[in-house]
Symmetry: C2
Subunit: 121 residues, 2 copies
DNA sequence: ATGGAAATGATAATCATTTCCATTTGTGAT
DNA sequence: ATCACAAATGGAAATGATTATCATTTCCAT
C-alpha cells in the first residue's frame, strides 16, 4: 500500500460509482496531480490483487473499477445517464449457489447486473 | 444471413465452446478459407445482433462468442478449462424484474454469469 | 551523507477491434 | 448473356486500452 494506491482510493471514494483507469487518471490530472497513467494502472492492479477494489468490464470490454463495499451486492445501471444503484442480491445468491452445486462446480463466484432506463431518462 | 455468417456458425458448431474472433479467424484460415479478419468481425457482430450467438468476455476483456440455445439463459463457466454450461435463469428473472421496478427502471435487461471450477479441474 | 531497493512516469510496444476504401461478387431487369 | 447497382469482402491503416521497458527519482535504513 503506497502513496499512489491511496490517491486512487481517494478518487474512488469521491466518485462513488465505477470508473475506468483512463477516467481515474484524467480526474487526478485535472486535480493537478501529475501522476502517470502507468502508475494508475499499477496501483489499480495492486488494489485488485489485495481485494480492495473490484474489477469488472463495460460492454465494450474496458475495465472499470470500484471500491469493494463490505458486503456483496449487485448493480442497477441506467443506460441513459449512467446512474447506478447498489442492490442486495437476495434470490440470486441462492440461485448461483444452487446451480453451481447442481453441476458439481466449486469455488464459485458470480456476476449479475441489471440495465435499464431510470425514471428520469 | 450471408455466406460468411454460415461459415462462422459452422465453426462454432464444431468447436462447441467459446472462441474469440481471432481464434475463429485462425481456424477458418487453417482450413484453407481465405476469409478476412474484418469479415469475421462483421459476421460475428451480425450474428450477435440477430441473437444467434452470445457474446461474453474473457477475464482480460477479449470478446468470446458462442452459439445461443433457443431461449434466454445464463452461463456456468469453468475458470480452469473454460467449459460452459447453459442454465435456466429461474429465480434470477424475477429478481431482476422486481428490483428494477422497485427503483422505477424501465426497459430492463440483465446479465448474470457464474464462475467456478468444474468437477474435473 | 550514502547505497540500494522500491516507486514513478515517459515512451514505445502489443493486441483486439474498427474504420476506410478499393475491389469483387451477387442479383435483378432488360 | 449483359448491364447496372447494391451488398459483401478483405487488406491496410487507425484507434484505443493495456502492458513492457527503462532511465530517473524518491525513500529509508545505516
Amino acid at each position: 500500500m503506497n502513496k499512489s494506491d491511496l490517491k486512487l482510493i481517494s478518487v474512488l471514494e469521491r466518485t462513488g460509482g465505477f470508473a475506468s483507469a483512463q477516467e481515474l487518471h484524467q480526474i487526478l490530472r485535472r486535480e493537478g496531480d501529475g501522476i502517470g497513467l502507468t502508475t494508475v494502472y499499477r496501483a489499480l492492479q495492486s488494489l485488485v490483487d489485495d481485494k480492495i477494489v473490484d474489477l469488472l468490464r463495460r460492454d465494450d470490454g474496458e475495465a472499470i473499477y470500484r471500491l469493494c463495499g463490505d458486503g456483496h451486492h449487485h448493480h442497477l445501471v441506467c443506460k441513459g445517464c449512467g446512474q447506478t444503484v447498489e442492490i442486495e442480491g437476495g434470490a440470486i445468491e441462492n440461485w448461483a449457489k444452487t446451480k453451481a452445486e447442481e453441476f458439481g462446480f466449486r469455488e464459485v463466484a458470480h456476476t449479475a447486473e441489471i440495465f435499464g432506463l431510470c425514471s428520469k431518462c
